[in-house]
């Protein structure tokens, strides 16, 4: 089968898209012609949506120049090492210290990875620990209509949450430091992948708005700060409203102004977890998902979903939308399983096209933005009568961690479209088993140096053959490389990884996965220690 594959791909690729970009990316296999773009209005060509569009002229040229040699190129294959290299480029992992301020840490480590389909990638992720309060935060942010909104949310949301959780006293100290122009005490410690980008230029504006938020929190005079659930609820909505207000407010600096416009007119779904001891909160708005891998006492594994996807297949969401809008719109709120026939998720940050009144949109855009240069798609969907249609209000789930809760998987819908919850748990469990099988265990530490040496040498010899070190990489590998029967097909994997940039989005979505492992011993200790 694989020998005939390339030509079939080639033809389908040629037929389906005009701007075939050859270059180094070689060939592709069309799994099914499902177009998964969130924004259907733009779905004719994902290329038009991209913020890299200014250079699309070059892409075209390149494509035409490159037609004659394509067949030859298509015989080239990525070696398994090259495949691994591509898959691992986005890897990040971190082992946490056993103790946080004296107490055993319930989180053991996390492993994360990201594979882009959009160019540039529209998913974002974040991991940070709160420095002024306790707790770790993990987030997945899936952007659409550009990456601006996902970028902004990934940079800012954790700050809003951290500030919401601060006690009155801490907030006062922060305010004091700002007032006297002293350096702020650090709020978050980020654990970033070296490739993660940040908007360095606008952080002062963002800090100002964060400050307004904590000033309002200060005015509430709550000794202990918000509880975690409230904090998550408020933070999501507050950040979304700040995003929306920032673009309405007159901003001096053109760059900041253009950026805030891009942020507001693109969108992002968000799913984040806050872990503090045995207290796990998950807040979700949109169709990212968080699940828990649970090992029962009998050794059986099961999956505990912690979020519900906010899309047209969620009955509760459908009723919510119907409830929030007049009966006359019952048939038009969701069309073709999309919000107003346009958007797949029905909760998201940004996307002011579905939140603001037509008048407001017009008046903001009429302030002389160069919408074309900024890649802002201005439109009004049919039946747009009673905005807002979209909200960033999250659903917050609380779960008290038990010793049998072994890991948490957060991922963007790029993963969940291809793998279901059980697959994901199974793959992570396999990963765990394999990791321990591949390496002779060090837990029963050999007593003397000689034994230790031979054990370590064994481990090293076997380690060389080990597959993925990172569970997230394993998930992504299977997500794009498995066939209909859930079997890994190396050819398919290679094909999916060598899709031309412009085609990739048609066969797969950006995938971002973070796997968080819990330390059952310390969770156990929480219960025993009371």
């Amino acid at each position: 089968m694989s020998s005939t594959l390339p030509f079939w791909i080639l033809n389908s690729a040629r037929n389906s898209i005009a701007t075939l970009q050859g270059g180094r990316r070689l060939y592709s296999r069309c799994a099914s012609n499902r177009n998964k773009s969130r924004w259907r209005l733009f779905s004719q060509g994902p290329g038009t949506l991209k913020s890299s569009a200014p250079c699309s002229g070059f892409a075209l040229q390149k494509a035409y120049r490159h037609t004659s040699t394509e067949e030859d190129d298509f015989h080239l294959q990525l070696s398994p090492e090259q495949v691994n290299e591509v898959l691992r480029a986005g890897e990040s992992a971190h082992k946490f210290l056993d103790l946080v301020s004296g107490a055993p840490n319930s989180v053991l480590r996390f492993e994360s990875n990201q594979l882009a389909a959009n160019s540039p990638v529209e998913d974002r992720r974040g991991v940070a620990s709160c420095l002024q309060t306790s707790g770790l935060m993990f987030g997945i942010f899936d952007g659409h209509g550009g990456h601006a909104c996902a970028q902004a949310v990934s940079e800012r949301l954790f700050y809003y949450v951290a500030v919401s959780l601060m006690s009155q006293q801490t907030l006062e100290r922060m305010e004091g430091a700002m007032e006297s122009m002293k350096p702020l005490m650090p709020i978050l410690q980020w654990l970033k992948h070296p490739g993660d980008s940040i908007y360095k230029d606008v952080t002062s504006v963002h800090l100002d708005h964060l400050r307004v938020y904590w000033q309002e929190l200060l005015d509430l005079h709550m000794e202990m700060g918000l509880n975690i659930k409230e904090a998550l609820m408020y933070s999501f909505q507050r950040l979304d409203s700040d995003i929306s207000l920032e673009v309405q407010a007159p901003l001096e600096d053109e760059m900041t102004r253009n950026l805030s416009l891009q942020v507001a007119f693109s969108g992002a779904t968000a799913c984040m977890a806050h872990v503090d001891g045995v207290h796990l909160h998950v807040a979700n708005a949109g169709d990212c998902r968080a699940i828990l891998g649970v090992q029962e006492d009998n050794g059986m594994w099961s999956c505990l979903p912690l979020t519900r996807d906010h899309n047209a297949w969620n009955q509760a969401e459908l009723s919510r939308l119907k409830r929030e809008h007049p009966e006359s719109e019952d048939r038009t709120v969701i069309v073709d399983n999309r919000l107003l026939g346009v958007l797949m998720p029905c909760r998201a940050f940004g996307d002011v096209q579905l939140k603001w009144s037509k008048e407001l949109q017009r008046s903001v855009l009429e302030r002389g933005f160069d919408t074309e240069a900024l890649n802002i798609y201005q439109f009004t969907p049919p039946h747009y009568h009673t905005p807002p249609y979209l909200t960033a209000e999250p659903e917050v789930t609380y779960h008290r961690l038990r010793p049998q809760d072994k890991f948490l998987v957060l991922a963007s819908d790029g993963l969940w479209d291809v793998l279901d919850n059980e697959d994901v748990v199974r793959l992570v469990v396999e990963h765990l088993a394999e990791a321990s099988r591949h390496k002779p265990d060090l837990a029963q530490r050999p007593a003397n140096l000689g034994l230790m040496q031979s054990l370590l040498q064994q481990r090293r010899a076997q380690g060389l053959r080990a597959a993925d070190q990172n569970a997230a990489t394993r998930l992504i590998r299977h997500a794009i490389g498995s066939n209909e029967y859930g079997e890994m097909e190396p050819e398919r994997l290679t094909a999916m990884l060598t899709l031309p940039e412009d085609l990739a989005r048609m066969y797969r979505d950006d995938i971002t996965v973070t796997v968080v492992y819990f330390n059952s011993d310390s969770i156990d200790a929480y219960y025993k220690g009371g």
Partner: protein
């Protein structure tokens, strides 16, 4: 409060275990520390209660300073100090480091007697093993230098090694160095003892107090903000170890302290069946990348692996160094190396693998001194895992620096100001320390270059030169060509070209030198630091006349070679100044002077808005044309007449264009590119001393025969004048001398580098400061200072020209002494044609 610390120290001693250690400490009541209020004012605030901070406090208080406050964020001696392996070793590569370690050794030895606190000091001696001949050469070089500063050491045979240490496998050794006075000591107890002594001298110590940031006004320290309140102070000392980088950046006026931590692992075992004697020597097997010391009857062994694990790149916020994860897989190569060296240990029981992060710096040397940006902000950090060995001496030098304004030794090699801002990037540091940590045990051959963190600063001609075969070295982050490999030439791979003997670039540099002498060469010297000083009135001339020792009131267009001296008459900088107009001057200094010279000028120039100092290093590409046909090339390029008498200052905006023109016009004169190695050979054979190598803050113009370049008789005041006048009257105590090696075979003998001991009539007389092969003399030439140590007392006596000329000299290269001829003046035969004074001035710019 302090008595509590002492009791902790005593408790620790009863159970000498690492585990007991931590539990003993965490039992200390936290509330007690909170109740103590900080003083509102102090003279000095020291941040960091590790061995560095306590040593600085100890020495400052000994020198009579009062109102010293030491703040520690956690508990005293709880950071790297606590996990230190406790090996004190004096065998260091730099003389200044050897001196610091030697002083530390003597200090720690008597500390117990002084303070009554047991430090666990045991003189074990140490053995440095050599598995290869190259390693043995490296050890021999260290050995000769140790001996001349009074540290006993000797090169021994493998057989002797086996006698000194019962467990060592010596079959693969070619030799070793034995340093009998090296010691082991508990680093934490030393810190506590130093703290105790300092406390008795009035230093106030507060633990569990974090410095949030340092308050700065007008570039001067005014106080510190802590989590327990503010303290006003005039001096701040950053001894924060791993946290120094972040602390430095937390100020409004950030202080860049380039360091980065790596994880460091060592192994602790249970006692051997026959427990090891507590005076069993420490073993360093650098070729095996490990060290091994006796520890409570068992061993403690760690090392510096090839693949270090950098840590805390993003910064860290934990209070104390938690016991980080052990990583046995990572330790495996070191463990194998240990078992190869001591096969009998196979059955030895493991106790613990300790992971204690150590900080490393971009050039493997520690960081001390005053910040160039903030006056009164001192730094002592970045010990490259030799903190215990350096703490005593480094603390003393820093204290001297603060009290007297300068330390008693030249510490330029360790000065914070040797780094530029570019070397503070986290990415740069992360990459560089991954190279530095293995380098601790790599073979250090002459003229090695760092491979990571390169191309931070380049000349606009970089690509052009690179394409022509340039091989690069780095100075202060700037890429400079060493030499140009001709297209047909194939140099050895980097690893193989590491040699103490004749290097593979010998012929290449020879042809470049020859071209410089017979035709013309072009050298890109853009890396040199360039400042412009202008004023509206005569302020520029006035202040420069005061800051520089030579007369700068010269006709416009002339260049003056001058020193920038300190009060003691020593060189703070040695530079060339061109007078661009009546009111503006152009100053060219060595590359690594960019930060130091800037700080010095800023400190000494009056606040005057009409006086402008600008760093224009970036603005100009500097091309140096060398050789008899240089004038011809230039004349063809310019309509202005070119003679040595009249060399107009011309500035052109298009560096690449000028370079191309020079190369194309120069073709018929045989022009070619040359690199710094050729230049270095030329400058050393002509006896040009270079700042940072031959000259430092403790050498004066009179000591290197540059009296004619000092305006002593012009009745003008300048910094250092009094000291020079006095020296002129009393005579000098050392004299820069040029040595031409006589019986040295360039092809077969070891090459000199720098730091080789000089013997006069068989007596030690000083060390070389730089050396090069002179292709003209066909001999090696070394520059170095000759002292006159009294045979009876060792005291320094006046050195006269007669004294120099009457001596018979030898240079000791790795234990082998070569006869040398001493010269006080350049060899005249080198000047093929009579040169004019201005011409000489110009060539001074060439530098090293």
């Amino acid at each position: 409060m302090f008595s509590r610390l002492l009791s902790v120290a005593r408790r620790q001693r009863t159970g000498r275990g690492w585990q007991n250690w931590s539990s003993g400490r965490s039992g200390a009541p936290a509330a007690e520390a909170h109740s103590v209020a900080l003083p509102a004012q102090a003279h000095v605030v020291i941040c960091g209660g590790g061995i560095m901070g306590t040593s600085v406090a100890y020495h400052l208080s000994k020198m009579g300073w009062k109102d010293i406050v030491l703040l520690e964020q956690g508990r005293l001696a709880a950071g790297s100090t606590r996990f230190c392996a406790g090996i004190l070793s004096t065998a260091r590569h730099l003389t200044i480091e050897q001196k610091m370690a030697d002083y530390s050794n003597k200090l720690y030895q008597q500390l117990e007697q002084e303070t009554g606190i047991q430090t666990g000091y045991i003189r074990t001696g140490s053995i440095f093993l050599a598995q290869t001949q190259d390693r043995l050469i490296s050890l021999k070089r260290i050995n000769s230098r140790l001996n001349v500063i009074g540290i006993p050491s000797e090169i021994i045979s493998p057989k002797k090694v086996a006698e000194l240490h019962p467990l060592l496998n010596v079959h693969d050794l070619v030799g070793a160095m034995h340093v009998p006075e090296d010691a082991v000591v508990s680093s934490a107890d030393v810190a506590l003892a130093l703290a105790s002594a300092a406390s008795q001298n009035g230093v106030q110590i507060y633990d569990r107090t974090s410095v949030l940031h340092v308050m700065v006004k007008k570039g001067q320290v005014t106080g510190v903000e802590t989590d327990k309140g503010q303290i006003e102070c005039q001096y701040f000392v950053n001894c924060a170890g791993q946290w120094a980088y972040e602390l430095g950046l937390s100020n409004e006026e950030p202080v860049s302290i380039p360091l980065h931590a790596c994880e460091h692992f060592y192994l602790l075992t249970r006692p051997l069946e026959t427990p090891l004697q507590s005076n069993t020597p420490t073993v360093v097997d650098a070729d095996g990348r490990i060290y091994i010391r006796n520890w409570q009857g068992g061993i403690l062994s760690g090392g510096f692996e090839k693949n270090p694990k950098p840590i805390f790149t993003e910064g860290k916020n934990q209070l104390e160094i938690q016991n980080l994860q052990e990583d046995w897989d990572h330790f495996e190569p070191l463990l194998s190396s240990l078992l190869r060296r001591m096969p009998e240990l196979e059955t030895l029981e493991i106790m613990k693998l300790v992971n204690c992060p150590e900080t490393f710096t971009p050039d493997m040397r520690c960081i001390m001194g005053e910040s160039p940006a903030v006056q009164g902000y001192y730094v002592l950090v970045g010990m490259n895992s030799a903190g215990l060995s350096f703490a005593g001496g480094a603390g003393r030098y820093l204290a001297e620096w603060m009290v007297h304004g300068y330390p008693s030794e030249s510490i330029w090699e360790l000065d914070l100001k040797r780094f530029g801002a570019l070397q503070s990037s986290r990415t740069f540091l992360r990459h560089r320390v991954m190279e530095v940590m293995p380098l601790l045990y790599d073979l250090k051959v002459p003229r090695w270059d760092f491979q990571t963190g390169r191309q931070l600063r380049t000349s606009p001609l970089y690509d052009r030169l690179d394409a022509q075969g340039a091989r690069w070295m780095e100075k202060h982050g700037f890429e400079r060509p060493k030499y140009f490999v001709p297209p047909d030439k194939d140099l050895l791979a980097l690893e193989q070209s590491k040699t103490f003997y004749k290097p593979d670039w010998f012929d290449i540099v020879e042809s470049e030198v020859k071209c410089c002498k017979e035709a013309v060469c072009v050298i890109d010297m853009s890396s040199f630091t360039k400042f412009e000083i202008t004023s509206t009135g005569d302020q520029a001339l006035e202040i420069l006349q005061y800051l520089f020792s030579n007369d700068l009131d010269v006709p416009v267009g002339h260049i003056v070679h001058t020193g920038m001296l300190n009060e003691g008459g020593g060189y703070e900088n040695d530079c060339s100044i061109a007078r661009l107009s009546k009111r503006s001057f152009f100053m060219i200094s060595p590359t690594d002077q960019q930060v130091h010279c800037w700080a010095w000028l800023k400190k000494h120039m009056p606040e005057d808005s009409n006086l402008l100092l600008e760093d224009v290093t970036w603005k100009y590409t500097a091309l140096n044309l060398i050789g008899p046909r240089a004038v011809d090339v230039l004349s063809e390029l310019s309509y202005a007449p070119m003679t040595p008498d009249h060399f107009p200052s011309l500035f052109c905006k298009y560096a690449l264009h000028v370079y191309n023109e020079v190369m194309s016009v120069g073709q018929k004169y045989g022009i070619r590119n040359a690199g710094y190695y050729a230049l270095r050979s030329l400058r050393i054979e002509k006896f040009f001393a270079f700042w940072g190598q031959d000259l430092n803050t403790l050498t004066t113009p009179l000591e290197c025969g540059r009296e004619s370049r000092v305006k002593l008789d012009k009745g003008m005041d300048f910094i250092g004048r009094d000291a020079l006048l006095q020296q002129k009257q009393n005579g000098v105590y050392k004299r820069l001398t040029m040595f031409i090696l006589d019986d040295h075979d360039t092809d077969l003998d070891l090459w000199p580098w720098w730091g080789e001991p000089i013997y006069r009539n068989g007596q030690y007389a000083g060390k070389t400061t730089s050396s090069a092969y002179s292709y003209t003399l066909e001999r090696h030439v070394c520059l170095g200072f000759v002292h006159n140590f009294s045979e009876d007392t060792g005291e320094e006596q006046v050195v006269t020209a007669d004294f120099i000329n009457r001596g018979e000299y030898e240079i000791d290269i790795a234990g082998h002494r070569f006869q040398a001829k001493a010269k006080l003046y350049p060899v005249t035969s080198l000047f093929t044609h009579k040169r004019r004074k201005d011409d000489v001035e110009l060539s001074d710019l060439h530098g090293k």
